[in-house]
């Protein structure tokens, strides 16, 4: 018991003990929130997903679903015609977007880390999506027909043949011999450029912070030894920032999966609040959550194996 010691026959807190108590007091808000609000909610939600719920005037009644409570889950996988497709669609779209967001934000952070005129302005603009493209604004934007049509009509009217020429998918398919899967990734990257830029604000911030944290003496030393910028990038910048690649990929997965514009999220929401099917909605949410957790575990596991730590702490 390193936390206690004996003095004059009584047990008192030792110095480490006092430290531990102080630490626990500091994190008290979190402890209260986690154990008295968050965990009960999670447990409750899990219970809902195994039940059929009926709302009455002053509360609700839970009854166990068929198949010893697994009814809602079985319904999602075997009966609901849309769920599997939506889930797969959601996940594959995310898996495509996550690397694109990572690559873009890494690139943008490197760019913003260089010295050039108007760097401050460029930084402010690139971080702007963090501010303006969140929550309801993003949701409204995605459902906005007008601006989308306005863009497409004027595009085709004004640019005409050039517009068709710029259709990247058919262009690549016709003039290059790349496999279709590669083409579709590239086309997504181009067509969803806006979404990707919008989703990268926080990641750029994190990468930029990391780049600023690399000691210049490392670069000086390696340049002395005759390394080129290219070598510096792969031998210094990349390893030094690799821990942040881990942080960012986890953050990106979370942000994209839980964004309010996500198809699966809206589906769960309508099931719960519009169709008032609580049990089924909770089951869907849990399946979705398990998928995210698995993806994060896999991504985290794979990347953390290659992360380089400058000083092991």
């Amino acid at each position: 018991m390193e936390y206690f010691r004996r003095r004059n026959g009584k047990w008192r807190f030792s110095l480490t003990g006092k430290d531990a108590v102080a630490g626990l007091l500091f994190i008290l808000p979190f402890l209260v929130g986690f154990f008295f609000i968050f965990l009960p909610l999670i447990a409750e939600s899990l219970r809902f997903s195994f039940s059929d719920m009926q709302v009455t005037g002053d509360g609700y009644i839970l009854t166990q679903t068929s198949n010893r409570g697994l009814g809602n889950y079985l319904r999602a996988f075997t009966i609901d015609p849309d769920f599997n497709l939506q889930l797969l669609g959601s996940i594959s779209q995310m898996l495509l977007q996550v690397p694109l967001v990572l690559i873009f934000s890494f690139f943008a952070a490197n760019l913003l880390n260089q010295k050039f005129h108007g760097r401050t302005a460029a930084r402010s603009i690139l971080f702007l999506p963090v501010i303006i493209s969140s929550g309801v604004i993003l949701a409204l934007e995605n459902s906005d027909l007008l601006v989308a049509t306005l863009d497409s009509t004027t595009d085709s009217a004004a640019i005409g043949n050039l517009g068709a020429f710029l259709n990247i998918r058919s262009f690549l398919a016709e003039y290059t011999s790349l496999p279709i899967s590669v083409i579709s990734v590239l086309a997504t990257a181009v067509n969803e450029l806006y979404d990707i830029v919008i989703a990268s604000g926080v990641q750029i911030l994190i990468f930029l912070a990391g780049l600023q944290g690399i000691s210049p003496s490392l670069y000086e030393a390696s340049s002395m030894e005759g390394a080129t910028q290219w070598e510096n990038f792969w031998k210094i910048t990349f390893p030094m920032i690799s821990s942040l690649i881990l942080v960012n990929s986890v953050y990106t997965v979370i942000a994209l999966f839980t964004s309010e514009s996500n198809e699966m999220m809206t589906e769960i929401r309508t099931t719960i609040f519009t169709e008032i099917d609580y049990g089924y909605g909770s089951a869907m949410a849990w399946i979705y959550f398990v998928c995210i957790a698995v993806i994060i575990a896999v991504v985290g596991g794979v990347i953390s194996r290659h992360v380089f730590y400058y000083d092991e702490r």
Binding site: I27, F30, V32, I132, S134, I206, I268
Partner: protein
């Protein structure tokens, strides 16, 4: 032609550097354009008359310049009241969660206590659970709020906290608000990177733990705190998820924005149906105007905090 000046020869390296800065310029301007263009489009659409929408020759500059969209959106959102309410709510919530996250982050950064790793894992866990999972229990919790059955004992029934600000306050005070896990993480990394000597010196001078925290650590974390405050403020401002969950009758900016089109429609009906049908284009135009109105305060705050924001991130050491 700067590189033609005497004494400076055109070397391949020089040309390469110039070429790169040209390419870089194009890329940076391109990215900035991608971000600013939709904003600008929203802004210009908000001044257009309806006929401009169907006019292919109008793209950015409205032909029939009008303020009527703003008039409609302002009254449809009940902007004045909603603005003040949202401002107070967002500022209050983000301040409260800043304080609680600061405390928790410092606790995780500097003290050793049992199960620390596990508890920090719990912080991450709160981040990755999609809010939809706990949406319904959350609603039920605050609809029938009770602390260990105390209210039930005293008054005979649980308390309904829906349509009050208590859910926001309770969530923020216990670091369960919107993305609070991220703030704890950011602040913890910042505190971890601070030199320990500062605090040790304070301890030696007889400063208590809490006082060291308030006097020494907090002042040096100001840029980071501004960043967290800004994030909290903005995400509270635009959050429609929790707002529509906790508030049924009371409207805040985000919920007002999502019901704007319906409100405008109802107003028209009230005037005797001068417009029996609103075209989707018009709805979207009103929505764009509303979005501009909702964004303007955020941009103002961003411009104001921007210096701290960028600086805070740079020195933060989210790195760690």
């Amino acid at each position: 032609m700067r590189f033609m000046r005497a004494g400076k020869r055109i070397t391949p390296a020089r040309v390469g550097r110039m070429g790169w800065s040209l390419v870089r310029g194009v890329i940076v301007i391109g990215i900035c354009f991608t971000i600013l263009q939709p904003l600008f489009l929203k802004f210009s659409v908000s001044f257009m008359g309806e006929s401009d929408l169907y006019d292919a020759s109008v793209r950015y500059i409205p032909k029939n310049f009008t303020w009527s969209n703003y008039r409609l959106a302002l009254s449809g959102m009940n902007y004045g009241t909603v603005f003040v309410r949202t401002l107070l709510l967002s500022a209050g919530v983000s301040l409260l969660q800043l304080v609680s996250c600061l405390l928790v982050a410092y606790g995780f950064a500097r003290f050793r206590f049992p199960f620390k790793k596990l508890l920090f894992g719990c912080v991450i866990f709160t981040m990755i659970v999609p809010p939809q999972v706990i949406m319904l229990p959350l609603f039920i919790k605050y609809r029938f709020f009770d602390i260990f059955g105390i209210f039930q004992l005293l008054t005979g029934s649980s308390v309904n906290l829906i349509d009050t600000y208590w859910p926001f306050i309770l969530q923020a005070a216990t670091t369960m608000g919107v993305r609070n896990g991220l703030y704890i993480y950011m602040l913890r990394q910042f505190f971890k990177n601070m030199p320990k000597e500062l605090e040790e010196a304070a301890f030696v001078d007889g400063c208590g733990k809490l006082r060291t925290f308030v006097r020494i650590m907090v002042p040096s974390a100001v840029p980071m705190m501004v960043t967290v405050f800004l994030f909290g403020f903005v995400w509270q401002w635009t959050d429609s998820f929790y707002s529509s969950l906790y508030l049924n009758r009371t409207q805040v900016m985000s919920t007002a924005l999502s019901s704007l089109a319906a409100n405008v429609y109802r107003q028209y009906e009230g005037f005797g149906g001068s417009m029996s049908f609103i075209s989707p284009g018009y709805v979207s135009m009103i929505n764009n105007t509303g979005t501009v109105l909702a964004i303007i305060p955020l941009v103002a705050i961003y411009v104001f905090c921007q210096r701290y924001f960028v600086e805070g991130i740079e020195r933060s050491g989210i790195v760690g």
